[in-house]
Structure formats: C-alpha cells, structure tokens
Symmetry: D2
Subunit: 442 residues, 4 copies
C-alpha cells in the first residue's frame, strides 16, 4: 500500500484507507478494545465510554456527533496487530482476561483467533512478577528496537497509516537520567544497554522513528522524556500523556475540583483499590507500584493548589493503596474515604465506592487516543507539535509541552479537547489558542 | 440612618455603612450563620465554604481574593434580625439546633442572647409538622404582609441596606396558579386570603415591596412566580433561585457531568437521605417532601440531556428519598447508589456516602447570597435585572430570566458566577454576556 | 401410588418414594429452586446455602454430613408442581425472572419447559400491583379452596408424600380477626367470602386439610392463625414461621446479638433496600409493604430486650424502607446505617452494604424447609406438634407454639435446629427439650 | 496494707479492699479507661461496653446483673498506676490521645493530674517508630525486670490485690525460640540479654513472679510462651489471651460464623483499616504490622474450618491492611469487602464500614479483664489454672491451655464466659466443664 497520509497543504488530510493499530501488550485492555470494535462494527453493542463515538460537538448553533464533525478514521477501517509475551491468539487471551462474557466472545471467536501477537521485547528486570514466553532476543537494546521497527515496516505494507498504544504492564519506577535528555544520548544508550532504557521506551522509539504516533496507557516513564519528545517533533509523530484515567482517579479529579469550587477544606484522602487481574499482580511488586503511586498522588496537589489556598489544603494527608485481590478478576473496586471540613472547621466525611471494570473503562480511551493521534498527525498545526496537551482528558499523568502545568481537572480537560477540535476544524494550520485558560483558573 | 445605597451613575455603589440581614426562620441554618460570622469576626474560626471569604478571582494576570477584588460588605458590617415561631433568643435556638459545639456557643453567648426573633407569620396548613408559638395575627394575608413591611421599615432605621433570606421550613407543594401570574392578581389574592399564597410569599412580597433583595434557602414556591419577578424588577430588588445546594445534590451535580463527559451511560440513580433536624421532621410530611422531591429530581435530566444522548440516558430510573431519623440530628447522611454502564454496555456501580452537616454546608451559602444580592443591588446592570442567573451556583433549583434553561452543572455555575463578577468590575453598566455558553454545551 | 408415609411405631418413617413439592407462586424463587435442584442432580452446580445439603452435624464424637445423619428425602426424589397467575412454562418464567444466567437455563431447558403451573387462586384486592392471567374462578372462597384440594389430590397420585411452600407475592396487611380464631369460624368464613381470608390462607387450608405440611416464604398472615394451627395439629401436617430470612434481616439478626453481647448501646438503625424484581414491585404498594415492615421491624426488639437493658436499647429509632428500583432486577441491595455508642456514651457508626441476590438466598431455604417439614411429618414426636419452633432459623417471623417468645438470634436458631435433629435421631417419640434455653438467655 | 486475698478453703475469696491496676503503656487506652472509671464513679457517664458493669447473668429462673451475681471488685475500689516512656501526668496524656472531649477531661482534671506514670522499660529495637523519654536503665534485662518487681512491691503497700494489663504499643514480630520454652531458660535469657525477650515479656515475668495476674491488650508475643505459662500456674497468677478484639475483627468474628451457619461460601475477604493514633503510627512499621497481621489473619480459618467444608471455604483470599492516617486520630475506620457465593455458586458482595473509636472500644475490655483476672485469682478452681480459656471473648488471639483449639466465634466465647461464671458460683473448686462444646461444633 501507499505511504502514510500527510497534510499536503493547509487542510486536515482525509482519513482514507486503513488505520493500523499496533499494541505492545495484548492482554485485558487490548482484547477488550479489539473484541469491542468488532462487536460494534457488527451492530452487536455500543461503544459506550468513547467520546469519539458517542459524544457531540457544538459547532456554532448546531450540535453534531463528534464522529461526523471531525474527520476521524472509521471503526471499519481499523486493523489491529501487536506484541505479547504470552503467545497464543487473541481469543485465548480474551478468555484468560475474563473481562467479556464467554458467550459474547464466542460470537466473534474466528476474528479473535485470527490475530496472533508477535514475540515481544521483554526484560523481567522491569516487570518482576511476569515471565515472558514469546520474547525477542538480540545483541543489545538497539538491536531489539530495530526488530520492532522491522515489525512496523512489515505492518505498513498492509495499512495506510499507523498508531501505537502501549497496553503492557506497568514497569518499575525509573527516574530521568542523562541518557533520556537527548535523542543522541538515548540512541547511544540503546547500544550500551543502559539500564535506564526500558522495553516500553524501545517500542516508543521504534514507533516514532518510523513516524508512528505513540500513546502510553500505563504509568511507566516511556515517551515522556526529552529524547523522545525531540524525536516526536522531528518525525511529525505526535505523542501524549500516560496512564489511562479510569476508575478511582477519574472520580478524584471530579470531586476535588468540586470541593475546591465550594471552598471546602480537606484534611485527608485515603484511596484503596482491590483488583485481581494481571495489572493487580504486577502492581503487587513494590517497584511497579511506586511507578503507579507517583502517577496517582500528583493529582490532588495540582488541582487544589495548596499554595494559593493554604487554610484549606495545606495539610492534606493523601494515601493511595493498590491491593492484588484475585477474587475480583478484572472488576476493580476503588474505595475512597475523604475527610473534609466546612464552616468554622467542622469535619465531614465523604466515602466513594466504585465497583468498576478496569478494561471496560480503559478500552474506549484507547480507541479515542488511536483516532485522535491519527487525526493529529493529519493536521498541519498538530503534526509536528510533539506532545498533544489537548489529550490530557485521557490520562492520570498528562504530558505538557514546554514544561507547563498539566491540567488534571476533568472538566477543564474536556473543554480543552473540544475547543481544540473546533479550532483545527476552523483553521487547521493556526496555533492552538488556550481560550479556556481564564476559566481554568477562575 | 440614611436611605439605601443606590448606584448614582455608572459605578458600583460602595458598600458603606451597615448591611442588615433579615431572616424568616431562625433555626439551625440562621443560628449557625450568625454564630459563625461572629466567631470569624473575633478570629476564632474560618469562614470555610464561603466563596466570598475564601476563594480567589483571576483578574488578568493576577489572582486576588474575591473579597478584595469585589466591593462586598465586610463581615464587620453585618447586622442580623429575623422572625421565628418558637420564640426565645438565638442562644437558646442554637442550643436546640445542636449544630455547633456547646463550648463554642458559650464563648459568644452574650451576642446570641441579644438577638430575639420577632413573631412570625405562620400557618400550619403550609407546614403540617410544626406548631407556632410566637405568631402574628391579622385580618388577612395582606394585613400580615404589611406587618412584615413594618418590621422591615423599623429595621431600616438601624441599618443602611438590607437583604432578606428565607431560612424557614419547607412548605407544602404548591402549583403556580392564576394568582401568581401578575402582581395585581397577587395583591388581590392577599386580600382574598387565596390559599395559593403561602407565608413565605408574604415575606418575599414585603421585602421586594420595601426594595429589599430576597433569597430562598428552601424549595417552596416563593419568589419564583411571575408576580414577584415583576415586583423585583420594578423595585430594583434582586432575587435568585431556591433551595441551597448542599449535600447530596451538590455531589450529584458533580458526578453526573463527569459521567456525561466520559460518555458513560446510566441505568439508575437511587438517593436516600437520613437526617434528624427540624428540616427532616418537616420533610417527613408527604406534602412538604413533594416540594423537596421536585427540586431534587429535576437535576439529572437537565445535566444529562437524554434527548441528545438517548442510548446513554434515556432509561434512567431516578429515585430520591428523605427519611426523618432523629439519632443523627443536624448531621445529614446522604447515600447514593448509581448504576452505570460502559463499553459494550457492561454494568458498573458507584456508591457515595456523604456524612455531612446540613447547616454547616448551608450557612456559608446564605452568607454569600446576602453579600452578592447586596452587591447586585448596588450594580447598575444588575439592580433591575430581577432574577440573578449568575447565582445558580448556590441552588438546587436555580431560577432563570425569560424562561431560559437553568444551569445545574456545578462547574459551569462557578464559571458563570466568576465571569459575571469580572464583567461588572470591568463595566458595571453593560449587560452580562454569557461568554461561557459555548463551553457549557461543549 | 400408595398413601403418605406415616410413622407406624416409634421410628422416623423412612424417606421412601417421591416427595412432591407444591408451590403456589412459581416466579423467581420457585424457578431458581427447581432449576437449581436439577442442576445439582446433574452435577453441574453445588447447592450452596442449603444446610441440609452442605452442612454437618456433630454426633457424639464424630461429625457427619446432615444429609447422611438424617433420613431426608434425596434430591433425586423431588417432584415439583405448583400454581401461577402468569401462565407459561417454567423455562419462560425463569427467563422472565432473570436470576440465573441464560446459558445455564439453556442446559436444562427441556426439564423446565415440561413443568407448567396450574391456574391459581388470586384476588387483586390482596396484591394490588399484579394482574392475574391464569386464575381460577369459583362460587366462593370455599369453592376455590376445594379446587386446590382437587389439584393436591391429583398430585398425590404421582407422588408418595407432599409438602407445600408459598412462594407467591406478599399480600396486603391483614389483622387477626374472629374468623381466624377457630377452624369452624374459618371454614364458615370461606363460604361467606370473609375479606379477612386471603388466597394464601386458602392454599394453606387446602394443604393442611389434605394432610400436607405447609410453609410460607412471604410475610403475609397465612398459616400463623389459630384456626390453621388447630388444623395442622389435627391433621398431623406440620407448619412453621413465615418470610424467608435472606438479606438484610439475616445480617441484622447477626449484628444485633453481637452488639448486645458486647454491651454496646444503640441509638438508631436505618435500613433501606432497593430491588427490582416482582417482589419489589409488589412491595411498592403501601399495603403490601406494611405486611413486610411488620415482619422486619419486630426483629430488633426481640433480640435486644430493651426492657432488660434500658440504658442501652430503650431509645432505638428503627426504620426500614424498601424501594422498587428496576435497574437492579433480582439483585437486591440492602444498606444499613447503624448508630451505636460505647464507653461513656461516645457515638460510633457501622454501615453495611449487602449486594445480594434475593432468590439465590431464598431458594436453598425453600429446599431445606421442604425436606425438614417432610421429615417432621415422618417423626412421631413432631408430626402432631403443629408449629415447628425449631425451624425459626429460616424465618424473619418465626412462629411459636403456645404464644412463646420467638427466637430471632441466628446462632441460637441454628443451635436449636441441630439440637432438635439430634434429639429426634436419638429418641423419635420423646418431646423436644429446649436444652439450649439457658444459653439463649445467657 | 495486708497481703493479697487468697482463697482459704473452697470459697471464692471476697473482693475486699483495694484492687491495684498496673498498666505498662499509659496512652490512649489507659487514660480512657481511667478517666472513664472516674466519670462512672461520679455518676457522669455509663460504663457502656463493659460486660461486668452492664450485662446480666441468667441464674436459674432469674436474671441478675453480672456485678451483683459475681463477687467482683467494685469500681470504687480500683487504684491505678503504671509505666510510660513519655513522662507527664495522665491529664496531659489524655489530652494528647484526643479520645475524650476536652470539657469532659476538664471535669476530672485534678484526679488525672495526680497520676504520673513511672519510667518504663523500653527498647527501640522492639518498637521502631517510638522514642522513649522516661526510660529505665539497667545492667541487663534481668536487672530491668527486677526494677519492675520493685515497683510492684511498692504498689503492694498501697493496695490489697493487683493485676497488670499491657496497654503499650505493638512490638515487632517475634517467633518462639528455645529461650521461651522453660522458665529456667527464660530467666537465664534475661541475664544474657537474649534478643527474643522483649520488654513486654519482662513486665509479664515481673508481674507473675510477684503473683500478679497479667493480661495483654496488644498482639505481641508476651505471656503466651511456655515459660510464662509455667510461671503463671506455679504462682497462681492467671493469664489469658492477647490483642483486644475491638473493631474490625469483632465484626469479622460475627459475620463469618453467620455465613457458615447459612452454608454460604467465601471467595475473598479484604479488610483495610485507617487510624491515626500512636497505634497506627507504630503499626506503620512493617515489623510491628507483621505481629498484628498474624493475630488478625488467623481468625477466619479457625471459624470457617475449610478442612471440613472445602467446597465453601477452601480458596478464600484473605487480606488485612492497616494504614496510618493521621486525620482520623483515635477514630479508627475499618472497611471490609467480602466476596461470598450462594446457591449454584452465584457471587454476592457484602461491605462493612465501621467508623469506630479504638480506645472507646478497648477501655471496657481492659476493665472487664482486670476484674475477671482478679476474680480468677480468688477462685480455687481457676487460681492455678494458668491460661483462662473462658476469657477468649476479649481477644483477637485467645490463648488456650494444653494446645487446644482457640475459640474465635464471639457467641460461643460469650456462652463459655457466662457458663464459667455460673459454674464457679455453683462450685468454686470443681474443674470447669466445657458444656457448650457440643453446641460449639454443632
């Protein structure tokens, strides 16, 4: 097939042809996404939770479904592939994940059986609790990354455009080091097997090097390093934040702004989670949990701005726990116990119990991100912008250009996303104006 | 003292002199408000929950405390009076209400003892569960209303400006009838003792007739009728919505927009409350509860717009219950059980338990409303505007000019309030522009 | 087939032949029971929740499964029939009830399709929210009851012994009147169409008249009247309490004794339920709810004995609510908010949220009752005892012989049941000794 | 004063004179106990939660208050002393603990100020998170223990009988080693500063050596070692289990037996706690937590007996977490999420949120234990019995004579306690008969 779509002039390039979705880590989220897309295509189910498929956009006086207003790839045009360490086909993976009902999987069994993940780049040093079965071997990290590039190149033969989205396990906590600071240092580090370069970074590097946009559903340090931001801009392959904002943090980024809007104070916020899927198992390892914890803890401080409101938010005791609890499978339960105070300091309590489903909440976010990253790449003003701030809506840890302040308030994130869509539709080449900024800090 | 402040030219009139706060119903909320204002004046406590006292306003590049940016009456300038059916002074009323700690009341006992409510206009037909002790008598409703006017006139001698805020019990459910349609019909109805005219309406009429702004903390039909909207505009005495948005509905108007932002569907929302204060006792009467129920039920439909998103919100089963439960006193508990669904229709549950305090949440709202209504009356563009849409932030049942659509989303309400403040500061005579409208329907 | 088993001498008659189970009301509970028994017979599932099938009995030094120690009917020997107002076969009824997974029903579809309920005796006066489709007609209540007797007589041709268990809807609240006091008055009342005689009583009368033991899974006044107690003893057809103790009340009768054991005080106990099955729909009618409420409210007082412990339990505010909430179907949710106090009167709170399944909890109780009532009839010392106190374990409203005090404490109920089993095994003709009585009031 | 009371012949010795209560660790529990006893003495409050003070005992046909039926020490006769590492008097300690209202403490301030703890034996090795201020020094552990003996001896001059109850912090997890196996080895180990001998053991040894009964409110290994059991029997100084059964475990030992009684199965039980007192701080140290965890985890297995009911309880995933969460102070919150299954294996969930108060629940248990241990020492059949199995009612980790099976079911524990009381009243010299044993394993 022909090359990737690119904006020739000052238009958003049309979403013609097939969009290839490449997924490192084809477990619960990936199989739920793919099985769901197929079910929706066949009219068996609704893509609930997906803004691109279910929501509307105000355009002047009229309100139009997002997918009609914006030139996104159609679900019929998606083609899936990916990598996994457990082998087998996607039907087996979906059965193992136990997210979707067996009878529902039965009806799309042939399709799922037809997809078999490629062997993955994996190193147990970065994910202690897992053992890889189908794993690539290579001379060094550079060699491994180039094997991924070859996989991508092969997939380009079958599809017109591509995006990659990391749905693998949470890797151990890594700090930014020198090797992450420039593309040159990073590429040297790959040859030297620098321990600060994790498998997920190799995937991100390979994708961007091939001009493929990259998103990260997990909290590990991956594309959010200067080296890869540089590569993203250089190659015109957009990137964005990390760690899907699904259950507990979703609710947190809604309740915290409400308390702040009402000038109600906070003494403490205790959050615990129980979940029994592979994600829960991996996070039972303290090193992986630390990665997640960092991503989850930052949220409150950003939203509440204790420096501006010291009487209300100076002394919040914020604690986040995740417990591996197999009886629940993929059905996560998040319990929050919030200690607030009101008029004259009188204490009150708010408790939230969210009996949610991890992959059911994550799958539509993954879908939206694939479609929006592809859109960004076809949009002149966004293609070379690197980090897409306007996609903060989807992440626990939004990334920002130019070391700005990430937005965590769900409602401001939604406003920013829709405002950006309106702007690129009106003028695909103009720089995005932060028109909601004033409201944001109202 | 001299007459009420009025905007001479095209400036916001300064907040000079004393602002008299007149409260029909001096029970839990009123005593908590007054005791709190005194405690704050003396530096004993913080006015947490009050946007006017604790929040900030973005002004161009800088962020300023609201009370510095906006010319509001100072807490030191507030003077309180009111009416009540139970007699006694406010210290006794506060002890009965059992909201504030006895030791805290002790420290401001003399002040509270110095305020003794005036006899009230009351009719048990409208509040079945209460018996009045100190009640005005008169020939007809018109006579009673004029007695209130006399009380107001006397209070004008001691204060420079006045506002009135209903903190009395919830009256029975009343429908709008002909007598509510014009001021003339209303005033005739007062003479004829029309049963559709409740005591709270007499207070509202008396206030507006005296040029005093009026707010309603309860859900009963009061100032939200054409006759009194007419009077409000005519007299330049602003009015606003009704029913303080405190506990469960506050949370509801935060979570519902979040689910909508995420395109998550809803099957049902069950809300129950237990509370043991006089409000709970009054709402144990089905007729009073109906008034409250109407106010509480409308919220979800307005926010979710099922007509625009039928696949997600068409079949919501929404149920609200309030139970009188004496062991809890003023400490209300609201429990919500929410049935949502996500990707492919998979069901999830969200439960919220809010151990709140009714009057602690309501008192700062009452304070803000007094200060903002007074501000509105001093602002050329707002004085004769009648209903103040921009104060929807405070109400379960916001009122709107010109039969518009009330805004229920807490975040849009907050944005509207602050935008209005910025506009009147910049140009006190220009009509308010709904600049956030686009975002509202983003 | 031959006549009913009867204890010839001083032995428990063996459980030979078929036991016919006759069920008025073949909805959620009945279909769950029958489908479950079939699934268990085929080795597809476990009869979890059934004491007869899953529990053990201490016999001297050894511990034996109950079903081995006691001569109960085997599951293979159960034969089911019944009456219903909705027509159709049991497969359809089970699909409508939405308790069991469709795929599970599929596997036993032929069996369920083979059972078709007989037309029922029904009168909408007693169950306002339902409309009968397949309903018997007759000259008067006596005629209707005799039609049921004929149905029973026909079933006796196919089975060796029979029991009847009411699984129909909750009827409206009825008080005991003169017509309930003697069998003679009752039988006269049936001819006179006395309004105090409900359909469920006609079933109970017909069963007992035919010498068939009778149990009542709902809270309506049925066999718990002097007239039918008389008939029970006379015919040697045992009866027992009413209203299956399943969700919230089960937990209540466990927590209340614990608080009492610890001498912890109680100020209030608020219980709310949401459920969306037919039971919920029927209980949405205030008259039916009153029947249920009486059954549910009595529990606490019996357990806590405020007269003996006035400082701890004198002023309990106990409130029970049931809300019809369709989104949940048969999956009931019971939420309790309990206000307790400890050392020096300091308050504490306990909240319990039980996400249970109504019919899943009820079905094994129905099974046990059928087997135990049949056992009682085969046991010389129990056959003519009328009310079987020892089965209080299964009921919200246990019935007692001789106007004694019903036992509500789940643990004492369990002890009494097992002690009775041991006694009849040791000496089937001796009167039951209340050996646990001392402990009961320890 | 004269010597300790001892049972001369075959009677329970009367509770004459003063009972000295000696408490190592005078923090939240100790101050709540002592302040409460004083408040009760003065008629200011009720000793709620104390079986000895509030409950009744069935004696043949009549029911009598426990404190009238049993010759216990009167509250007026209690005299308190103890040891602590923080210095100061008990009024200051009670203020720091923030359990009781300040105004309540004010009313008994002089009494509390009059008690000043003695310097304590402490070693940070065993409680990592605390720093001792007033700490005894000595040549070796034997020397330190003898200093405690001297303190006890001095207190004997002021009181007639004594008991000691450990209310100090949880020490690190220790395993039984050789040094714990015999009294001789233990006493040698004290001289050798064996690291397996913790400070709490030195207190226990000193008490028993002085003939003083000893109880342990914390989970650390202390008197539950063969060496000290030997000493207890030898000296006629009774001992009992450890770790007060207060909040979450109390509820667990009530719900688990209920599920078992109903033959309902369990897949998992997740328990989390948040608390902000010193106990919470100490348990934040993994080594101390391990001690607590062992004590808490054992409960379920003992009650459910998975070996007898493998289909129901074989695969329970049981997890217990404790989180230090300062905003809550002494007000502990325990949240349980329980995964159960019923008929045919259908899953259900039960959630329990216990907003309790740690010291309010513990203080009455400490009181009862002091009174009952003193009673035991005055009772011929119990004085030399060593471990008092019948006091299992009070402990998360009951101790048992002769390596029997500890009873965890709260109701069986209560029955055993009361049965023992009746037996010693009837015949103070006869060995205790386990009359409830049969019921226990019914």
């Amino acid at each position: 097939m022909s090359g990737t779509a690119s904006p020739h002039d000052n238009q958003i390039a049309p979403a013609q042809g097939k969009l290839g979705v490449m997924i490192p880590g084809m477990g619960a989220v990936a199989t739920t996404l793919i099985a769901g897309v197929v079910a929706v295509r066949r009219g068996l189910a609704q893509p609930v939770g997906s803004l691109t498929q279910m929501d509307t956009l105000k355009m002047g006086e009229t309100t139009v479904p997002v997918k009609e207003a914006v030139p996104l790839a159609a679900l019929d045009d998606l083609v899936f592939t990916g990598w996994d360490i457990f082998g087998g086909n996607l039907y087996d993976a979906a059965r193992t994940a136990q997210v979707l009902d067996p009878w529902q999987l039965e009806s799309i069994k042939p399709f799922l059986e037809s997809i078999e993940p490629m062997p993955a780049v994996f190193d147990q040093h970065y994910v202690k609790r897992l053992n890889g079965k189908t794993v690539k071997t290579g001379r060094n990290k550079c060699d491994l990354a180039n094997q991924i590039r070859n996989d991508i190149a092969a997939f380009k033969q079958k599809t017109d455009r591509q995006v990659m989205i990391w749905c693998g396990s949470t890797e151990i906590f890594l700090k930014e080091t020198d090797v992450h600071q420039t593309l040159a240092a990073f590429e040297r580090g790959m040859v030297d097997n620098d321990p600060s370069i994790s498998p997920s970074m190799l995937y991100a590097w390979a994708a961007l090097k091939e001009g493929v946009p990259f998103a990260n559903g997990a909290p590990n340090l991956t594309a959010d390093i200067p080296a890869l931001r540089e590569l993203s801009q250089q190659m015109g392959a957009p990137i964005c934040g990390k760690d899907f904002k699904t259950g507990q943090t979703l609710i947190k980024t809604v309740l915290a702004p409400a308390l702040k809007a009402r000038s109600l104070g906070l003494n403490g916020w205790y959050s615990t989670n129980i979940l029994g899927n592979r994600d829960g198992e991996v996070l039972d390892d303290p090193e992986s949990f630390k990665t997640k914890e960092e991503s989850k803890l930052g949220v409150l401080e950003y939203i509440l701005e204790p420096e501006k409101h010291p009487e209300l938010y100076r002394d919040i005791f914020h604690k986040v726990r995740i417990n591996y609890y197999p009886p629940r499978g993929d059905n996560k339960e998040g319990w929050d116990s919030i200690d607030l105070f009101g008029w004259l300091g009188y204490p009150m309590q708010l408790k939230v119990d969210f009996l949610c489903r991890d992959s059911i909440l994550a799958a539509p976010l993954a879908l939206d991100l694939c479609l929006f990253l592809d859109l960004a790449q076809r949009t002149p003003s966004l293609k070379h912008a690197g980090v897409q701030d306007w996609l903060s809506f989807y992440f626990k840890a939004p990334d920002v250009k130019d070391s700005g302040r990430p937005e965590h308030d769900l409602f401001l994130q939604a406003a920013k996303l829709k405002s950006t869509l309106r702007q690129i539709l009106a003028n695909p080449t103009a720089a995005i104006v932060e028109e909601e900024a004033e409201f944001a800090e109202a």
